[in-house]
């Protein structure tokens, strides 16, 4: 069946009906007692319902159906026609218009207008049941959307009524006090009938940035009023004179409002291609680098005028950077919400019963990182359900709850996201991993016996490792943890595994919240400047030779009452093979919970840098995570602390 053809037919025919619906409803508003008009409206709705149903537009059909019910009751005089009903039918017509427009544009209104459609259906349903709503009376005083019952008592012979819309600046502190200041000032030359939101809401800071004041004053100059309330931290003030409208004007307003509303309504969100966002990010990145350079030059110039201007530019750049980064943020829910289905499907295939918990859906992170995370997470979740979780029989036999639990959580730790995939399954037997490693010839039995649990788990992420006894439909042959690991590391993150045999496993992913710009400590080694991510720098100090010890043939120092390895950074970076002198400026770096100290030539400074990925060819041994441009314009390497030799 050619659905496009039917869709186009539906669109054009429904549009015709909508035109006549609008016309008939406007006429009905003036002549509520004309049964012919009600009949006409009823028939049009009925036709739309039938057409929508047959092309699978259930939402439209549902709404038309509800409207039809309401109209039928009006027709049979079981209900008396009043404003709320008329308004609701107008609203349905508007909805149908936008739904048809969506269809015509090749989109599916069941997706794009879902909430609106179902909300409206409910509203109309309620109206069809409820007799006269008590709101009818209250709203009869409202003219042009303005409540003259509260305005009229304040009017005098020579007063004027204004609606004053005040928009505060975006990041105003003490909003309520700011609003109070405006109202207090206005009361010096007029009377306030009411505000929207109400005054008590303004006082309790229950408003966003804007509020409207209905104001009665003897001043008859919008300009004068504006200048009197023109306080600081106000972005905009709009003033319009308000006149109580007559019955005819009210009808006129309603006819026009449908169109003007569409034309005036500023969209709250616009779609921006991710490509453009990336481009913007790159540009801001460049700007940040040049800002740093400019700051340095300004300082050297010793010219305060230049310095002040540069300070301003620097501040604006920071704000711009902040805004651009923020515009790239999306909530974890964007990918998290797909996972309950993934887990459910996997569990079903494997005949396991799993209680899946999601935490931290609302955490926001850069969209490009989030996108890269989706696949590794699907992999880890499937692994947990498949390999981690015992069968129901096994669980019962070992005295566990029959239903297993898998938890996916995200939280912010410093400027990174910690994402955890946890299950209460069988856990990982590190002895078995060691055995397997020996079988594979990766290590000798002697070597593995000295390894900690954590080190043993590292084998899990090696290509070709698998302990699953059989191939399953869900996660294949257990390959892929190596893929997960390299994926996470390529985005500047790290993965670690914790597990207790018999009790469960936990996969911890540390990933940056935002890709592009990181704070770094610049240090030099062998006359070269290197950047260390600030998030991993624990401390810097002067190392004295007498504080260096030798433990089991390795040099070490005591840090936070534990012995940690120490060596020259130049040696860890394989710039030299000699041990060199272990004294002088030293940094302590953290990687997945353990520390190591590196002696450097000197501290160069701190800088925010824009990370550019290194080509794979240049970075075969993963010592560096990227490259950046220094203030002086030279390229410098960003050390990948997670892969730095200890």
């Amino acid at each position: 069946m050619d659905t496009t053809k039917y869709r186009d037919l539906f669109v054009s025919e429904t549009r015709e009906h909508l035109v006549s619906l609008n016309r008939a409803l406007l006429a009905l508003e003036k002549n509520p007692d004309d049964p012919a008009l009600l009949d006409e409206i009823f028939r049009s709705m009925h036709t739309i319902k039938g057409m929508a149903g047959s092309i699978g537009q259930d939402q439209i059909a549902e709404l038309a159906h509800k409207a039809e019910d309401l109209l039928d009751r009006l027709r049979k005089r079981q209900l008396k026609l009043a404003q709320p009903q008329v308004d609701a039918i107008f609203e349905s017509i508007d909805y149908l218009e936008s739904a048809v427009a969506e269809l015509a544009a090749g989109r599916d209104p069941q997706q794009s207008l879902k909430d609106k459609g179902s909300g409206l259906s409910k509203k109309i349903e309620a109206l069809a049941v409820a007799p006269q709503s008590s709101k009818t009376e209250a709203s009869s005083n409202v003219s042009g959307g303005n409540d003259f019952s509260r305005i009229n008592p304040l009017k005098t012979a020579d007063s004027f009524v204004y609606k004053v819309r005040v928009l505060l600046e975006a990041d105003v502190a003490l909003k309520s006090a700011r609003a109070f200041l405006v109202l207090h000032t206005m009361e010096q030359f007029g009377k306030i009938a009411y505000t929207v939101p109400e005054r008590r809401d303004l006082e309790a800071e229950r408003f966003d940035r804007g509020f409207s004041v209905f104001f009665v004053t003897n001043l008859h100059s919008e300009k004068e009023i504006k200048s009197r309330i023109g306080y600081s931290e106000i972005e905009d003030i709009e003033i319009e004179e308000v006149v109580e409208e007559t019955e005819e004007e009210a009808v006129e307003r309603r006819t026009v409002s449908a169109f003007t509303q569409l034309a005036q309504e500023r969209p709250r969100e616009v779609k921006v291609s991710t490509e453009r966002l990336d481009k913007l990010m790159n540009l801001v990145g460049e700007l940040v680098v040049w800002r740093e350079r400019l700051k340095q030059l300004a300082q050297m110039s010793q010219n305060t005028l230049i310095q002040d201007s540069v300070d301003q530019v620097a501040q604006i750049t920071s704000e711009l950077q902040h805004q651009v980064l923020a515009s790239r943020l999306v909530a974890m829910s964007e990918i998290f919400d797909r996972f309950p289905r993934v887990v459910r499907d996997a569990a079903k295939v494997l005949n396991k019963d799993i209680d899946f918990k999601l935490e931290g859906r609302e955490l926001e992170m850069d969209r490009s990182i989030l996108q890269m995370l989706a696949e590794p997470l699907v992999h880890l979740l499937r692994n947990s359900v498949d390999h981690g979780m015992e069968t129901m029989v096994q669980r019962e036999a070992s005295g566990k709850r029959k239903i297993g639990t898998v938890t996916l959580s995200a939280q912010k730790v410093k400027d990174q996201a910690l994402i955890t995939v946890e299950d209460d399954g069988r856990g990982i037997d590190h002895e078995m991993i060691k055995k397997k490693a020996v079988e594979k010839g990766w290590a000798t039995a002697e070597q593995v016996s000295g390894l900690s649990q954590k080190q043993a788990f590292d084998f899990l992420a090696r290509p070709g490792f698998s302990t699953a006894e059989k191939v399953t439909e869900v996660s294949g042959r257990g390959v892929g943890l190596d893929v997960v690991k390299s994926r996470i590391e390529s985005m500047g993150g790290s993965i670690s595994i914790e597990s207790t045999a018999g009790q469960g496993s936990r996969f911890l992913l540390n990933v940056p919240l935002s890709l592009a710009i990181i704070r770094t400590l610049l240090v030099s080694a062998r006359k070269q400047v290197y950047a260390l991510p600030m998030s991993q720098v624990m401390e810097t100090f002067e190392l004295k030779p007498e504080n260096v010890r030798t433990l089991q043939g390795k040099t070490a120092i005591v840090y936070r009452s534990q012995a940690i390895p120490v060596q020259r950074l130049s040696r860890a970076l394989k710039l030299e093979t000699e041990e060199g002198i272990l004294s002088g400026p030293t940094v302590v770096l953290e990687r997945q919970g353990s520390f190591a100290a590196y002696v450097i030539d000197r501290m160069v400074g701190q800088q925010e840098i824009v990370v550019k990925p290194l080509s794979r060819f240049l970075n075969a041994d993963k010592t560096f995570s990227g490259v950046a441009i220094s203030r002086e314009g030279h390229p410098m390497l960003i050390v990948d602390v997670n892969n730095l030799e200890t």
Partner: protein
């Protein structure tokens, strides 16, 4: 040309900072005070175009000082400095006659904007 401003805050740090901001914005700092009482005293003596004053100070707080200054000169222009969370005090200060307020930590541009608004210079 420069409007004359009296800066009142119990912290020297804040006074210095506000003064620096004002000087850069072409204002003249004609006097300083560390308490509400000093503010009133200085106001009588200097008759400044504008007072920038902290809300919380020892020896007569900012609100009392605003009231006292308004008694001396009903046309006095006082700009309050407040910290976050002092909503109620700010409201009280405005009722007492303060013309506007700025919130710490200060953004120099906001301080200057508020000062210019209060003095009605653009």
């Amino acid at each position: 040309m420069g409007h004359r401003v009296l800066v009142v805050d119990d912290a020297i740090f804040m006074r210095t900072m506000i003064s620096d901001i004002l000087k850069k914005g072409d204002f003249e700092v004609c006097g300083e005070g560390a308490t509400g009482a000093e503010a009133v005293e200085q106001y009588k003596k200097l008759k400044p175009d504008l007072v920038i004053m902290d809300i919380i100070m020892p020896d007569m707080g900012g609100i009392e000082a605003v009231k006292a200054i308004m008694q001396i000169d009903p046309n006095a222009r006082v700009l309050m400095c407040s910290a976050m969370g002092q909503q109620a005090l700010v409201v009280e200060a405005i009722q007492a006659g303060a013309r506007d307020f700025v919130v710490k930590p200060f953004q120099p541009s906001r301080v200057l904007e508020a000062a210019r608004r209060v003095l009605q210079i653009s």
